[in-house]
């Protein structure tokens, strides 16, 4: 009598490949959450030019559409006015745009001259493609002197304020974690009372920042509108950079520290230009002295 051999199930190649890929991707995740990021710099550098290229093309088409729209308006006015007045108005429009752009750039330049540290001006050219991450992309990278963990500031209404931190630096572009990211932690202090705390983001630019672990003794000294600045502790963010102003004070009876809400000094929805601070290199003003 024949003995039946137990039928062994054979898995297809897809199952073995899936197991291999599963292990590899899991290993990558394990390594990356322990700051294994050398790999990523190479990858980001590889694609940094492509994203910059797409941004350039997009800007070109937007500019072209604006130019075409303006030509149509000017042609209509030319029919109504004399030839001389039409030429004059055309020149006036062009110079007005140039003046406006000049004013915006001068404003940024004036701010730039006032920065103590060596700094790299950059433009925001993109956002993180994943909705769960708030990082934005700037068009400067290691080629321009940007490195990981450099502070990023911006200028609004005459005030220098903290925007975030460089988390990845590719060759031509870099990723910046904004202040309102949930993984952003900034050592801060109140400008007037000098109490310290940790500023955290809530994941959205519309939501207020939180400053936690503020000593409860500060309850009587801190009020709405107080200025919060970086403390310089931790070595990443230089001291004295504006973060925001207190918008809400909340002290719970059972807790030994307070959590307060801050209104950020920057409007991140309108942010276009930023400055990356290089605090390790001697600044121009220090060198001149």
């Amino acid at each position: 009598m024949k003995v039946k051999k137990p039928h062994l199930r054979h898995f297809g190649a897809d199952v073995y490949v899936f197991i291999a890929l599963f292990v590899v991707s899991f290993a990558l995740l394990v390594l990356s959450t322990r700051s294994f990021t050398v790999f990523r710099d190479v990858g980001l550098s590889t694609f940094s030019g492509v994203r910059g290229g797409i941004h350039s093309v997009q800007s070109f088409f937007a500019g072209t559409a604006t130019a075409v729209r303006e030509v149509l308006v000017l042609r209509r006015e030319y029919e109504e006015l004399t030839e001389r007045m039409t030429r004059y108005e055309q020149e006036m429009r062009t110079s007005a745009e140039i003046r406006e752009e000049n004013y915006r750039l001068r404003e940024q330049l004036d701010f730039s001259r006032g920065i103590q540290y060596r700094h790299i001006a950059a433009e925001i050219s993109g956002r993180d493609p994943d909705n769960l991450f708030q990082a934005f992309v700037i068009n400067k990278g290691t080629k321009h002197g940007v490195a990981r963990d450099m502070s990023v500031v911006a200028y609004r209404a005459g005030v220098q304020a903290l925007a975030g931190k460089v988390i990845e630096a590719g060759f031509l572009e870099s990723l910046v974690m904004p202040l309102y990211d949930t993984t952003s932690y900034v050592s801060a202090r109140f400008a007037a009372s000098r109490y310290e705390g940790i500023v955290e983001g809530q994941g959205e630019s519309e939501l207020p920042l939180l400053i936690r672990y503020v000593s409860k003794r500060a309850q009587d000294e801190i009020k709405t509108g107080d200025l919060v600045i970086t403390s310089g502790l931790g070595g990443i963010y230089p001291a004295g950079i504006t973060i925001g102003r207190v918008s809400k004070v909340e002290a719970r009876e059972a807790e030994t520290s307070m959590d307060l809400e801050l209104e950020s000094a920057l409007d991140f929805s309108k942010l276009e230009y930023v400055f990356v601070l290089d605090t390790k290199t001697q600044s121009v003003t220090e060198a001149a002295q």
């Binding site: 890929l21 599963f22 990356s32 790999f39 694609f47």
Partner: protein, 168 residues
Amino acid sequence: MIRTIIAGAFLSVLMALLESSVLRYAAIFHVVPDLALCVVVYVAYQNGSLAGEITGFVSGLLLDFLSAAPLGLHTFTFTCIGAAVGVFRGKFVLGRVFFPVLFATGAVLAKAVLLLALRLLFGDTIPVYHFFARELWVEVAYTALCAPFLFVPLRAVNKMLHPRDKGF
């Protein structure tokens, strides 16, 4: 199959770059559709689990380079989703609207569940969707809405790569 994987990974990264640059102007409540994931879903459904998981691995890895995500996050999620969707290959006709919407919806929800599982293992370094928050459901709806339109050019690419294959 190699051509399919390369094309799929390339298109997935292209979609990610578009999400990063152009689509941010079309964001709804700061949410953009996950078109990169849709490409992986399409490749997996048309070509099976093997092609789907390899395409998911490669495109996920490339997406990790472009994003602030921990290296391996999208690699892991896209690989798993590519492998899972590939199981359904040939089970039914893809159609123009219903199944693209269904697969896109399922893929985004599967991504959310996988992230939750990873959060249990890795802690706060892994961000998760809050299942009652607006952002997840806006992403589900927006991705599902875009999927039928994205699958049209993907079918054309698939026909170019496999002219004899009638597809689903």
